[in-house]
Point group: C2
Chain length 456, copies 2
């Protein structure tokens, strides 16, 4: 497999497929199962459909508390669902090529158990696992983990940096050729190729080694989504895929160029840092048909759910009860959680002069990501424009409801992207890393030996 | 489904099937894959084979550190493998009836994440999940979780009691009829049927609710294996299946009667507390063939692995380097870990007058569990004797090597047990709980309502 260069650059596509549906009212659509969030068969169907569309990966957001009424990934249909890593382990055997990117928290999980479950998923999927690193916002989650309030934003990111370093070290515990498994001599492994990390840091003390062998990808693909200053610094340091939210090409370009420059400044190859904004597509054979799909879904939002969504998206500080839904958004102080998302939501309200009702209707489909209502051609035009003008290396597609929103994209937009030579017509590689054109990471121990040899 | 009574009592069987093999030298057998521990296809084969034998459950022990050379579940072939919950999620779709009992630690995992992954596994398996509760022994694990040494035995058990209470409370977050999912009204759930637990205890502060719905079994089956005073108290309070190690019917009876009496004293129905000793069977069509299988496997143990195994089994304090392998076991002080197992191993050495070498050869097959070398008839005789004389409600079968040790049992011993009317000829129920004859637990909220109604 070859890794990404400017010459062989290709569009990458992830699919956000929460069984409860992306849009807050998705479950009320006649063609979406109301119990999708807890329906294994439905998730299997979605995974197969995404693979039919040649998507790089199935992406699942995740939280560690119940998000009643709204929130960043909430909605009543999503108050209860599967834990993503166990779900993906169950979906693996129903697919052959599709990657599986699961979200997990550096704030509320220990590096040893987290490294272990992702390495195990990478073994089970034969190299198709990715970890979406989140620091997890909100006091509701803190209260499920022995705290009254969440740690401050900066403290969460400081812990996240150390956490990811430890996890990567644990994934290197066994070198790729550590296992000898010689039945004649009884020698199972080479002790010189097995390593404890003896980590003693600010947040963690972890000796190692991990009790899972090196997985097919070496390291599951590291994904991240923060857009604040801390988030950008983290992304440039660690992330190989970056999920981001932009309403306009200009802000997407600013983000894209900033992250690539930061990565280059840190000695990383910017072609191995893929920036993938979220897109919520309403696809019609005509613009009218697409608009009709948008209107039909938007009409299904209950006002209390819309208000709950805005409250969740702005960090839980926005109590809109008592405000006129057809009046403007009241001011609110910034909080420790989701700083960038708060600013984005307010910018949307300001730009369009939205009332509270208009705002929740707008953000309900994509929570601040780009909403495209149009034909396969017009949607492909936008994706192509962003892809060819430093706005994106690919996109995370957030079908507003399921399975139809995904099927529309697979049947109508994917062929248009293929006709334009932007998207694959068959999977190129064996692993998620290979399909994304990302390099296989050597263990730190092999790297150290190579640099010693080079210096001699 | 009917639950267990003395009148309908039936033998239950679990299968310990670590891909690396139970016996420390199992991987060196010609018919066991050397890479079994990290081979998904081999685990699928084992699960199907266990289901062919109508076993109640596939049982996996687990630890959170690398156990070099030996230890309670160690052996070089098991230094690295899958995380059991992700593995079982992957095996679920390859089976229809087999239960999956995964081990997880109350000392090093948080109740919220633990409750969540087991509820998720129970959804994925459609009601076939069990949790083997362990407190996890050894400083090596503590050193992977920000500590230098493990917490004391009593402290681990105190935390375990509270941990299981919190987990059960979280599993009751959504009552069985909490979800309305009415597309017409937009009402997804009934808020009166969703509950936070607001737990504030000595070790944990957990608000809830859990973000997974009630799973098909209500609660995954609770399994436990401690035999110390703390362990027995814990088992009588919480466990529905108890894994235990005995060499003789007399000690098994003492344990059996003690646990049943304790459970009764705590207001539990002792028929809903199943006691299942471990048995390592070497099955031959003749006694000679069985003995030949035992001798062949025992001969494959490397001396350093045997010594490492004894060290691990006695809590890591037994450094035998420098001692004559053909001399007696030196004395050692008791430690905080695995108290009952240390005593058991020493009792075996004393009873048989074993040298170090003879001792490790003996315990290598079953680590202190009952080793039966014989014909299907003689093995069934022992199982029947224990089952009919207050020694066991069933057994956890630990095939010494795989898949042959399992296949031998399925092809030779299961039919003999069936002929005697001791074992099922088809699965009775839909869930693990139903197959084990254990009752479906109502949520604490429904129970509280029922007791209020009864008092009125």
């Amino acid at each position: 497999m070859t890794t990404n260069t400017p010459a062989n650059r290709k569009l990458r596509l992830g699919a956000f497929l929460p069984g409860g549906g992306q849009h807050i009212a998705a479950w009320r659509q006649p063609d979406q199962p109301a119990d999708g969030a807890t329906n294994l068969g439905f998730h299997i169907q979605l995974a197969k459909e995404a693979e039919r569309g040649l998507f790089d990966a199935y992406f699942l957001a995740d939280g560690l508390s119940v998000s009643f009424g709204g929130g960043i990934e909430g909605g009543n249909a999503k108050v209860a669902g599967f834990e993503p890593v166990t779900l993906f382990a169950a979906l693996a055997s129903h697919t052959k090529h599709l990657g599986f990117i699961a979200t997990a928290s550096t704030t509320y999980e220990e590096p040893y158990t987290l490294a272990r479950k992702f390495a195990s998923l990478d073994l089970i999927t034969e190299g198709r696992a990715g970890w979406n690193v989140v620091t997890t916002t909100g006091d509701a989650t803190a209260q499920n983990f022995n705290r009254d309030t969440q740690p401050p934003h900066a403290a969460r990111y400081a812990r996240a940096h150390e956490h990811v370093d430890v996890v990567k070290g644990l994934w290197d515990s066994f070198e790729d050729d550590a296992f000898v498994r010689d039945k004649d001599t009884g020698r199972f492994f080479d002790p010189a190729k097995v390593h404890a990390i003896h980590h003693k840091g600010t947040h963690f003390q972890v000796k190692g080694p991990l009790n899972v062998s090196r997985s097919p990808q070496g390291h599951p693909v590291i994904v991240q989504a923060g857009q604040s200053e801390d988030g950008r610094s983290f992304a440039a340091t660690h992330a190989e895929v970056i999920f981001t939210a932009h309403q306009h090409l200009e802000t997407a370009q600013e983000f894209y160029r900033d992250i690539k420059a930061r990565a280059r400044g840190l000695g990383r190859n910017p072609d191995h840092v893929l920036i993938m904004p979220g897109v919520s597509p309403f696809v019609g054979r005509t613009v009218e048909e697409a608009q009709e799909k948008y209107d039909r879904l938007t009409a299904l939002i209950l006002p209390e759910d819309g208000v709950g969504l805005l409250n969740g998206l702005t960090g839980g500080t926005l109590d809109l009860s008592g405000y006129d839904l057809d009046g403007p958004l009241p001011p609110a102080p910034p909080t420790e959680g989701m700083k960038s998302r708060q600013a984005l939501i307010r910018a949307i309200a300001d730009e369009h002069g939205f009332t509270i009702r208009q705002l929740y209707q707008w953000v309900a489909s994509a929570r601040g990501h780009l909403t495209l209502v149009g034909t396969p051609q017009s949607i492909a035009d936008t994706l192509q424009e962003w892809f060819e003008n430093d706005g994106a290396d690919g996109f995370n597609i957030l079908p507003p409801w399921l399975p139809t929103g995904l099927t529309d994209f697979v049947d109508l937009v994917i062929p248009e992207l293929q006709r334009r030579g932007l998207f694959r017509t068959a999977y190129e590689g064996r692993t998620l890393r290979e399909n994304l054109g990302l390099p296989f990471p050597e263990t730190r121990w092999a790297l150290a030996r190579h640099s010693t040899q080079a210096a001699e």
